[in-house]
Symmetry: C2
Subunit: 213 residues, 2 copies
C-alpha cells in the first residue's frame, strides 16, 4: 500500500537521503537508484519531484548554502562586536570545522575530494555569491569607521574569500608547517589589503582561532 505525502515533504525526504549518500560516497558515486532505495519510493516518483539527478544536487546545495548564509549574516549583523572580529567570524562561517556547521559536516569533507568537482564548484559559487556581499558591507563599515582604508572593498573581499576558501580546501597543499605559515600570511596580507593598522587583526584572530598560536 502506497503512502502519499505532500510534495514539499517528499522533496525534503529525497534531499535528506541525497545528503547522507552524497556525504558518504560523493555525488558521482551515488546512483539515483541508491536514493530511491533509501527513501523507499519508486523511480517515477523521484522524477516526478525532480527533473534530473543534477537538479537534486542543485536543490541540496541551495539548502546548505541558505543555512550557511543565514549564519554569516547573523555573524555580520552583531552590532555589539567590533568590525574586524565580525569579519573574521563571518569568514569562519564558511569553514566546516571552525564554522560549527549545522549540517553537512561530512558533506564538506566529500566536497574536497577531486571526485566531487561538480559539487565543490557549485558550493563555492554559492559561497562567493552569498558571502562576498555580506563581507563587503563590513569592509565598507570599517572604512567609514576609519579603521580600514581600501578603495576596492568588493574586490578585496573577493580576494580574501577566494584565498581562505582555497586554504580550507587542500587545494594549496603543503605540510602542516606550511599551512600554519599560510594562516600567518593570510592575516598579514589581509591587514595590508584592508589598510588596517598593522597587528590589528592578529589579536581578534588569535582569540577566535586559538590553534594559530
Amino acid at each position: 500500500m502506497r503512502i502519499v505525502k505532500e510534495a514539499a515533504e517528499r522533496k525534503n525526504e529525497i534531499l535528506d537521503a541525497a545528503e547522507e549518500l552524497f556525504a558518504a560516497r560523493g555525488y558521482e558515486e551515488t546512483s539515483t537508484g541508491d536514493i530511491l532505495d533509501r527513501v523507499g519510493i519508486a523511480r517515477g516518483t523521484l522524477y516526478y519531484h525532480f527533473r534530473s539527478k543534477e537538479e537534486i544536487l542543485d536543490a541540496l546545495i541551495g539548502r546548505l548554502n541558505r543555512t550557511m548564509i543565514a549564519r554569516a549574516e547573523k555573524a555580520a549583523g552583531d552590532r555589539d562586536v567590533p568590525v574586524v572580529e565580525r569579519i573574521i567570524r563571518t569568514i569562519l562561517c564558511m569553514n566546516p570545522e571552525t564554522g560549527g556547521f549545522p549540517v553537512g559536516h561530512e558533506v564538506m569533507e566529500q566536497v574536497h575530494k577531486p571526485q566531487n568537482a561538480l559539487m565543490h564548484q557549485k558550493m563555492q559559487q554559492g559561497l562567493l555569491d552569498g558571502v562576498v556581499p555580506v563581507i563587503t558591507r563590513l569592509v565598507e563599515e570599517g572604512n567609514a569607521q576609519g579603521i580600514f582604508h581600501t578603495g576596492y572593498p568588493r574586490e578585496t573581499t573577493e580576494m580574501l574569500v577566494l584565498y581562505s576558501g582555497a586554504a580550507f580546501d587542500s587545494r594549496l597543499g603543503g605540510e602542516p608547517e606550511q599551512e600554519a605559515r599560510r594562516v600567518k600570511a593570510f592575516i598579514h596580507n589581509t591587514e595590508l589589503l584592508l589598510g588596517a593598522e598593522s597587528g590589528s587583526l592578529e589579536a581578534p584572530m588569535a582569540r577566535l582561532f586559538p590553534q594559530v598560536k
Copy 2:
C-alpha cells in the same frame, strides 16, 4: 584491413580527438564512443592504451599544462626584462585570451562551463602546482632587488594566482564595468601585497594589457 601504429602515436591520436571533442561538447557530454568513431579505432583499442575515460582526461590536461608551464617558464626566465613585467607576462600565460594559447583556446572556454567542473578543477590544480613556484621565484628576485618587500612570497603569489584565475573565469561575475574595476583593483592590490612602489605595476601592465586604459 587494420592499421597498426606505435603506441605513443596512437595515444596522441586519441588525445587529439579527445581534445577536439571535449572542446566542442565538454568532458561529460563526450562518450568514449565518440572518441572511438573520430579516431577510427575499436573499443578495445582505446582501453588498451588508457585504463579509463578519466585517464584520458588526465593525460590531455597533462599535455596542455606542460606546454603552458613551458611558456610560463620561458616568460619568467627572460633576464632582459624587468621583474615586474616578467611577473605580469607569466600570469598572462595562464589566460587563454592574453596568453596567445598554443592549442586549446576552445578547451578553455568549455572549461569555464559548470558542466566541466572536473576538467576545470584538474586544470586549475595543474596551474597552481606549476605556475606558483615559478612566480614565487620572481617575487623573491624582486625582493632581492629591493623593489618588492614581502615576507610571504609564496603565499602572496598563491593569492594573486587564485584571484587572477577566478577573474579570468567568469566565476566572479559582473558587468564589463565591474570587470574593468576588478583589473584596476588587481593591480592596486598586487602593489600593496608585494610592497611595491605605488604605480610601479601600472605602467608595465598598461603596456601589456592595452585594453585596460
